[in-house]
C-alpha cells in the first residue's frame, strides 16, 4: 500500500512538472530543435534580450497588470465596504451575486461582450477604432473586481462592527475611522485580493485578445501571434525567467508570512 501511494505521488508530480521541466531544459538548448538536446547554451536568452518587441510586450503586460491591480483593489475594497454596510439583506445578497458574474461568466463571453460595448460606444462618439490600451485596462479591472470583493467581504464580516464606531467615538470622522481602524483590520484580505488581481491580469489572454488595440500588445497575445509562424526557443527562455521570478515571489511571501501569523495567534 505504502509503495503504491508513493509511486502515485511521484506520478502526479511528474505529470504536473514534466512539461515545465522540459521547457526549462530546452531553453538552454544549443539548437532550435525540440527533440534533440544538442548542447548547453545561453544563446536563446541573449536572443530574447535583443528582441525589443517581446520585451516591450513584457513591459506592457506588467504595466497593465499593475494598473489593473491598483484600480480594482481600490474600487473593489470600496465596493465591499458599501455592500457590507447595506441594511437590506435582499439588496446585499443580490449585489454580491451580481458582482460575482464576471468571475463565473466564461472569459470568451466577457471578452466578446466587452468588445461589442467598446465598439458600440466608440461608434456613438464617432471613433473609427475605439479599442486601445484603455479599453484593455477597463476590461481587466472589470474581471479583477470580483476577486478583490470576494477577498475583502469576509474580512469585513469578521471584524467587530463596533471597531469603526469606537474610532468615531474617539473623534475620528467616518473616513479617518476607515483608514485608521477598518483598513488595518481588513488588510490581509485587501493584499490577497490585490495579488489575485495582479495574477489574473497577468495571465489573461482571451479577454485581452478581444479588447486590445492595435498599438498595444501583451505577452500572451504576442506569443499567440508567434505561433502562427514559429515559436522560437527564446520564448522558452522567457517562460523560464517568469517561472523563476514567480517561484521566488512565492518563496518570499511564504517565508515572511509565517512569523506574522504567529504574532496574531
Amino acid at each position: 500500500m505504502k509503495t503504491a501511494s508513493k509511486i502515485y505521488t511521484v506520478l502526479i508530480f511528474l505529470f504536473l512538472f514534466a512539461p515545465i521541466a522540459i521547457l526549462l531544459v530546452f531553453s538552454f538548448n544549443e539548437a532550435k530543435s525540440l527533440s534533440v538536446f544538442s548542447g548547453f547554451s545561453l544563446k536563446w536568452y541573449r536572443e530574447l534580450f535583443r528582441d525589443e518587441a517581446t520585451l516591450a510586450s513584457v513591459r506592457n503586460t506588467l504595466l497593465l497588470a499593475a494598473l489593473a491591480m491598483v484600480l480594482s483593489t481600490v474600487i473593489g475594497t470600496a465596493a465591499a465596504v458599501g455592500i457590507e454596510k447595506m441594511r437590506s439583506k435582499w439588496l446585499k445578497s443580490t449585489l454580491s451575486t451580481v458582482t460575482d458574474i464576471p468571475m463565473t461568466n466564461p472569459d470568451i463571453i466577457t471578452g466578446i461582450s466587452l468588445m461589442l460595448m467598446f465598439v458600440f460606444v466608440g461608434r456613438f462618439f464617432g471613433l473609427a477604432n475605439s479599442l486601445s490600451f484603455w479599453t484593455m485596462l477597463l476590461s481587466h479591472v472589470t474581471f479583477c473586481l470580483p476577486y478583490v470583493i470576494l477577498q475583502v467581504l469576509p474580512k469585513l464580516r469578521q471584524m467587530d462592527s463596533a471597531l469603526p464606531e469606537a474610532a468615531m467615538d474617539l473623534g475620528c470622522t467616518p473616513v479617518e475611522a476607515f483608514f485608521k481602524v477598518t483598513l488595518p483590520e481588513i488588510m490581509p484580505g485587501v493584499i490577497t485580493g490585490a495579488i489575485m488581481a495582479f495574477t489574473m491580469s497577468l495571465d489573461d489572454f482571451v479577454i485581452s485578445y478581444f479588447t486590445s488595440g492595435a498599438g498595444f500588445q501583451t505577452l500572451p497575445i504576442r506569443i499567440y501571434n508567434m505561433t502562427k509562424k514559429t515559436v522560437t526557443p527564446k520564448m522558452y527562455a522567457l517562460a523560464t525567467i517568469i517561472f523563476f521570478v514567480i517561484l521566488a515571489l512565492l518563496l518570499i511571501s511564504n517565508l515572511t508570512d509565517d512569523p506574522e501569523k504567529d504574532k496574531h495567534n
Partner: protein, 382 residues
C-alpha cells in the same frame, strides 16, 4: 445644585415598522451615575446609542448642555463610550489604544484645530493607565490581555479624553462574578474621583442598585420608573418593576380605606394612602418582610411546599390558598409543615393596576424562573 446635562425629549425610535423606543423623556444631571436597567430588547442600548450619536431618533430631541444635538455626529460629541465587547483596536498595543483619541486633532471653540504635544499625550496616557492599574502594560498586545484587563484598557481609552459623559454598554457582562464585583467598586471610585457623568446600561438589577445614583427601569421601549435605588426597590411603580428588581410576591388586593388593604378576604393595616375607596390594586410583599410565626398566631396560614438553602437564609415557597409565596427566613421549616405569617404595615407596598398586573409575582414555577434568569444572562443583547 445639580445641573442638567442631557435631556431626551419625546425620543422615539422606529425600526422596520417596529417601535424600539416609545417617546422616552429623561434628563441626566452633571456628575450623576445613571443606570438604564431592563431585560434584553427593552430599548436601553438604543437609548445609549442615541446619546452616543450612533443612532438618530425617528422623532424627538436630544439636548446636550442646552443645545439640540440630534444631527451632531459621534466624533463631534463630548461623550465617549465603553463598548459591550470593548472594541479595542487589535492592531495597536495598550499604549496606542489609549492614546488613540488624544492623537486626533480636535476643533476648539474658536474653530482652530487643537493638536496635543507628544509630551502631553504621553503624560495623560500614563496617568490614565495608573488610574486603571495597568502600569507596565504599555507595550502589551491587547489580544494577549485577560477580559478584566481589556475592560480596563477600554475604560482608560475612553476616559483619557476627559469626556463630560461616559457611556457604558453592559461593560461587565463578559466578566466572571468576582471580577465583576471588583470592577463595580472600581468604576464607582473612578466616577467619583474624576467627577464625570456615567450612563450605564445593564440587565443586572443588583449591579444597578449598588452603583447608581439614579436607576431608570425600562421595558418594551418605555420607561417604567425613574428613581434612586432605594425608591425603585421600596416603592416600585408597577408589577414589572417590583418583579424585575429583587424578589416580590405580588397579589391582587382591594384598598378598603386609607391605610387598609384587603388580600385573601382579610384586612391588613398598611401605610399607603391616596387610593379611591375599594380600588383594585396590586400588593407587593417582599420575601424578607414576612415573619414566620406558629400557625395559630398567624394572620395568614399556609403550607410549605419547597425549601432551598441559600447560605444566609432559606428560600421557602409557601402555599396560601393556592397562591405560592416566596419567603426568606433564617428559621428552618420542613416541607409540608403548616406555618402562620405576620406582616408589619410597612411590609406592604400598594401599586395601581397596570398592563403588567397578573403577569408576575406568583412562585408556582420558582425553579423554572431561575432557569429563565440564567438564560437571560447568557444571551447577550445585540
Amino acid at each position: 445644585m445639580a445641573k442638567e446635562l442631557i435631556r431626551l425629549k419625546d425620543a422615539r425610535m422606529d425600526f422596520d415598522g417596529e417601535t424600539i423606543l416609545d417617546n422616552i423623556n429623561l434628563y441626566i444631571n452633571d456628575k450623576e451615575f445613571l443606570t438604564l436597567l431592563g431585560p434584553s430588547g427593552c430599548g436601553k442600548t438604543t437609548t445609549l446609542r442615541i446619546i452616543g450619536g450612533f443612532l438618530v431618533p425617528t422623532s424627538g430631541d436630544v439636548i446636550f448642555d442646552g443645545v439640540r444635538i440630534n444631527d451632531v455626529p459621534p466624533h463631534k460629541r463630548q461623550v465617549n463610550t465603553v463598548f459591550q465587547k470593548y472594541a479595542l483596536f487589535p492592531h495597536l498595543n495598550v499604549y496606542e489604544n489609549v492614546a488613540f483619541g488624544l492623537k486626533i486633532p480636535k476643533t476648539g471653540e474658536d474653530g482652530k484645530k487643537i493638536r496635543l504635544s507628544k509630551d502631553e499625550i504621553d503624560s495623560r496616557v500614563r496617568e490614565m493607565l495608573e488610574v486603571v492599574s495597568l502600569k507596565g502594560f504599555e507595550h502589551r498586545s491587547v489580544t494577549s490581555l485577560s477580559g478584566g484587563q481589556q475592560q480596563r484598557v477600554a475604560i482608560a481609552r475612553a476616559l483619557v479624553n476627559r469626556p463630560k459623559v461616559l457611556l457604558l454598554d453592559e461593560p461587565l457582562g463578559a466578566l466572571d462574578l468576582r471580577l465583576r464585583k471588583d470592577m463595580q467598586q472600581e468604576l464607582r471610585r473612578i466616577q467619583q474621583e474624576m467627577g464625570i457623568t456615567f450612563i450605564y446600561v445593564t440587565h443586572d438589577q443588583e449591579e444597578a442598585l449598588s452603583m447608581s445614583d439614579t436607576v431608570v427601569v425600562m421595558d418594551r421601549g418605555r420607561i417604567q420608573q425613574i428613581g434612586t435605588p432605594e425608591d425603585i426597590y421600596n416603592e416600585p411603580k408597577n408589577a414589572f418593576v417590583a418583579d424585575f428588581i429583587g424578589e416580590s410576591n405580588i397579589v391582587d388586593g382591594i384598598m378598603r380605606d386609607d391605610c387598609v388593604v384587603e388580600i385573601f378576604n382579610r384586612k391588613f393595616k398598611c401605610l399607603d394612602k391616596g387610593f379611591q375607596k375599594d380600588e383594585a390594586v396590586d400588593v407587593v410583599i417582599r420575601p424578607e418582610d414576612v415573619d414566620i410565626v406558629p400557625e395559630a398566631e398567624g394572620q395568614l396560614k399556609g403550607t410549605v411546599t419547597q425549601v432551598t438553602f441559600k447560605g444566609m437564609q432559606y428560600d421557602i415557597i409557601v402555599d396560601f390558598y393556592g397562591f405560592k409565596w416566596l419567603i426568606q427566613t433564617t428559621d428552618f421549616c420542613p416541607v409540608d409543615s403548616k406555618i402562620g405569617i405576620k406582616i408589619d404595615p410597612d411590609g406592604f407596598h400598594i401599586m395601581k393596576k397596570s398592563e403588567y398586573s397578573g403577569m408576575f409575582g406568583d412562585y408556582s414555577s420558582y425553579s423554572e424562573e431561575y432557569d429563565e434568569i440564567s438564560d437571560a444572562e447568557s444571551e447577550e443583547e445585540e
